[in-house]
Symmetry: D2
């Protein structure tokens, strides 16, 4: 059965909303059936018709209308889940409304602006037995999953060192004052929350560190900067990490690294081996050993055990397919599969906690702060 979904966001000129829709539909497991594409009901209907071929009746002007409208439909027509692809500050009210309306959710990252909000939503999921995915899409790449598997299987021994970088250069000038919508909201504290680069891309790095290494981040020491004059949120930073089990690491994120496109990479070193994966060449995983030749594992190639490719080795699959793998797991879960693998509300919560602590550490001059709440600490 093809699942039905609603898309919140993804109106004219949107970037990530369109990606969500393509990814959700790629494998034919789900199809857009409804949506809310603008806070103006008229414009929402126009976008829904023009961009997605939806009937007027399924194009809503706000989330309450969507929830009410879908609830009024027979179960056989109602959406199975909704995708939230709107600016960060709107995630919390939208997701809460959807969950309270009994609708499963796929939410873009970062999950919410505060960890208190994230905790509320995570609790709501549990209480209502609803499924929620946060689209840390990079963990959908087959070779990221191969890396996770190798480490989980103990192939690298005890993990000692983790390095994760996410470098971009597109905000090296004040793009937010040139009419670039993507830059505007990402650099605006009212819409993006307390972090800039660390909210937008640092949060991907945080999840990748946990996903691949299987370790928790226990404490951070951060040094964030805003290099572009007048910018209110960080556009660059480095964070020292202390991880569970005694491992150490560093996360670097920057949006002013001129010439870097979307340079997310992770390196993990254990007592027996090391590995490296780079998002810009996502179908290659390099694994190095102390006592035998280095290995190059490839998506779909010999020795690779991770699933997730659709084509034979050497037929490059990229960002879209990895994104679709998150949807593949999520829709499998909705259909009742067991052992599906996608980032959930708990992952979303950890991501927001990480952002909060990184910002706090930096604001306090670069001190070490634990990730877990101190006893008695207010939320």
């Amino acid at each position: 059965m093809v699942l039905r979904f609603a898309l919140i966001g993804g109106g004219e000129g949107a970037f990530i909303g369109a990606v969500h829709r393509l990814a959700a539909e790629l494998d034919g497991a789900a199809r857009i059936t409804a949506g809310c594409f603008s806070s103006d009901p008229q414009r929402s209907r126009q976008a829904g018709q023009k961009l997605y071929g939806l009937p007027e009746s399924r194009c809503y002007g706000d989330v309450s209308a969507l929830v009410a409208g879908e609830q009024a439909l027979p179960a056989a027509e109602r959406v199975h889940f909704a995708i939230v692809a709107t600016p960060n500050h709107t995630h919390f009210p939208i997701v809460r409304a959807l969950l309270e309306g009994g609708i499963n959710v796929v939410c873009d990252k970062p999950f919410t602006v505060t960890s208190a909000e994230a905790r509320t939503l995570a609790d709501l999921c549990r209480q209502r037995s609803l499924q929620l995915a946060v689209t840390y899409n990079y963990s959908g790449y087959p070779m990221v999953r191969e890396a996770r598997r190798l480490i989980a299987d103990g192939a690298l021994g005890t993990i000692r060192r983790v390095q994760c970088e996410y470098l971009q250069g597109w905000l090296s000038q004040d793009e937010e004052r040139t009419g670039n919508k993507q830059a505007e909201w990402r650099t605006d504290p009212a819409r993006a929350g307390s972090a800039g680069a660390f909210g937008d891309i640092g949060s991907h790095a945080e999840q990748l560190v946990r996903y691949v290494s299987g370790l928790d981040i226990e404490a951070v020491c951060a040094d964030l900067s805003a290099f572009v004059p007048g910018r209110l949120l960080d556009d660059d930073g480095n964070v020292l990490l202390r991880l569970s089990g005694g491992a150490r690491g560093v996360i670097s994120a920057s949006q002013i690294a001129v010439g870097e496109e979307n340079a997310l990479s992770i390196r993990v070193y254990g007592s027996k081996g090391g590995l490296i994966w780079r998002q810009e060449e996502p179908n290659t995983l390099t694994v190095r050993w102390a006592d035998r030749p280095f290995e190059t594992r490839r998506t779909g190639g010999p020795g690779t055990q991770a699933p997730g490719n659709r084509l034979p080795a050497g037929h490059p699959e990229g960002y879209l397919e990895a994104f679709a793998n998150i949807y593949q797991a999520f829709t499998a879960q909705l259909r009742g599969a067991s052992e599906t693998d996608y980032p959930d509300a708990e992952d979303g919560l950890k991501g927001v906690q990480f952002i909060e602590r990184v910002v706090a550490s930096s604001q306090r001059g670069g001190i070490w702060l634990p990730l877990r709440d101190e006893p008695g600490e207010e939320q």
Copy 2:
């Protein structure tokens, strides 16, 4: 308007048919509406329903039925084009039937088994004013188009040397005797035609040489081998090229190059510069100059003028997106756009001529043969 298409092929277990469908639909410009998925009408209907959600009435048992069925529909429901994704030897009768039925065609490569067939189809297209694309999908990569543009603009000066390779290793053992369907028909002269590796992948190389360099192949000298015992068609070969304007080159194709996945690459050297593109890292084009630092041009990156990317630089796009670019151009053509860029029947014909001459050259001990017909030569 979303165009409607029929898919011929692409039944249960098919590889390339599914890719065609994904590629055709990726940008929302076309949608599968009918098809012929098996020569058994019953199984065709089952596959159509199960794989593509099509009504029984639009799932045909053969192409004549499809042509008749679609002609009987009102224009507003009839398909705009049909995709032919069946083994090589069936292309000719199927495409002829479609064209004679007034249906535009997208046909997989190689176009036909003989050049006489290809010429017939090319003539038919012209006579009926129908559009036909041959899916030399690798020419849909943005950086292949950037390479073509640079050369067409004269940036590399007079072209002197072209090297194109297409190396795979998946047929290094006798896969065709292990139940591998893909291997079976590709190594069977009755279904694949007179060439093995050179029909399957060498023909991509031939088109890439012409597309990127802008030159014609005038003569070939070929040395083909069948390394796997018992194999009837070539699984490896090298071909010397003489190109228009005095350029020289070499095409290598192999399916027994153990460890190579889908290693298509092209290098072109002119009097002022050289370039290289590799399919397995398709978003990078290296351009080198005699008098200034070498350049790396990237899909969507600074300085790159070629269109064709859907995502910002650094978000890897791959095989599927390139394939979809061929469909994007073809559907734009059907909608009346001018200056669209996709391989047509003439390209398909040249491809088949190339295969014929390569096979003939090799069979005659590796002699030079012109690509164009000799005067008086029978077809």
Copy 3:
């Protein structure tokens, strides 16, 4: 004129002493003429004869004997400089004795064990007008110099972000208990000083950051670890950097990064461009711009202005040639050239200060410490 030098260290089984000798002699500008290869005069003479073909009279048992012996010779036979390639803790007394004896010095890094020692030696150089080089050999690579030149010329704009890594894996197990001499002294506080990986390789990273960026390191926040059980000195660490002019950065150094060989790299991002250089492919420098295609500059290649190569582009030059470039500059200086470029005693001092502060920062839990002395701080 070929300069004469003495080698201190470099006896049987030594690694870096032999490299110094090769590098010093590579361009024919200097020749070994004397040495002190063992604290046992008998063994020193044997090594000098066997390894270097030196007469007994020029093979000394200790540095005082060397100084006295050389001073007793006519100027036309006396060495012009001495190379100190002994374990860290001996640098100070040896270099002091050489300088007090009026002999110019090339000393391996780190310069000394304490910054007070380094300051004493730097003062001595100035007082005696003697030349002293510290062999931060990686700054001898042509493409490192090209990087420095581009930044000094302002091509990258204002520098904002610097990342330097030096990762090795050879100490991932307790090599120091397997009879590996190189591992033994490097992990022994009595011989290596207060730092392990950061003394041995972190100090190269520190110099490379300053050399390439042209900036000073103003403050550090360090997190060092000793992962191998029983190891007394750090074998891994990450250090946040605050640099002059407001730039930020991070230095990572590890000797437990399994599978890394000698992975020194530096990346620098300014307001107009970014660059990356990797020691393991030292003849390539990648430079990226916001508004035009990325560049690959190559040793000896088009557009590269840095000197230092001996062979045409594409003939790989490596570690030895870069090391020799330091000697080329040093011997040119001794011959009276102006504007020679090699790391001197001040660079050595800064290196030791960096190590001291990194160790102190880490020992105090990872706090920020300034590099420059606080007023009133005792030395």
Copy 4:
């Protein structure tokens, strides 16, 4: 004992002569003691003194004088071998005079201008029991030797396909008319012989194919071009190969491939695996298997069995060290070692035969020619 050698060639402004000297002396096993640096005795003496610090008495004006002069010396002073680093057409008379004078020889490639000359010299070596090396220096790289070893051990199975390229761009314009001495003699039939690019660099490719694959080249079909107007010798070409045991291959060589520096590479595919080595990153050998992850073997790295590195893995060694490895083997041979590995007169002869047949094949329109002499064929 340090061996003594004479250098023929290597005067002011010479390139390869200086490389020979550095390479021969690198490991301290040999030292320049005599030479013939110009046909003008006066200039020869000046160059010998200035460039190599040689006494006048050992700087000769021609090879007869050198042979006579050295023969007149006591054995303890006489040179052990002579290095011939002069333009191609002079190799034959010089090497013959040396061998007839009882002096072992290291000769640059190509060995001679005609195969008859090469055969004469090979015979002379045997008759006089003298040693002769031809400096196919690229076979001195450790990872080339590792490749050879893997294949000789059968790790790749039966060899099927070999591809070897040697691409340069430095002759893409008429450098020979700009005063470039290196270009002048290489493009002059009177000095270079019958081949241009194929004599200069194609001969390296030929030897590398035989050395790595362990196969003989049995027949060639060549297409050579001279792209630069007015040039008399080939500057570009492609050659189809038939190898012993049924393997096929292609050699490409070009000096007009703009932007290529010194791009020598070899790829070999067998029934069980494939490998690739690239001279511009010489410390890496990629080995790929059908059934397990691809391998990266590194000079001095884990799993690599080939000897030849002087430094630990990750400390790049390059052209000079590989060149020196040929000298290391040759001087070991002179000292009586067994199983040394360097290209000898037979290799030199095969190289000249290859060049002759490639040129003949191309001149006759690109026909297949056997490498071995036909019965009754005149030499």
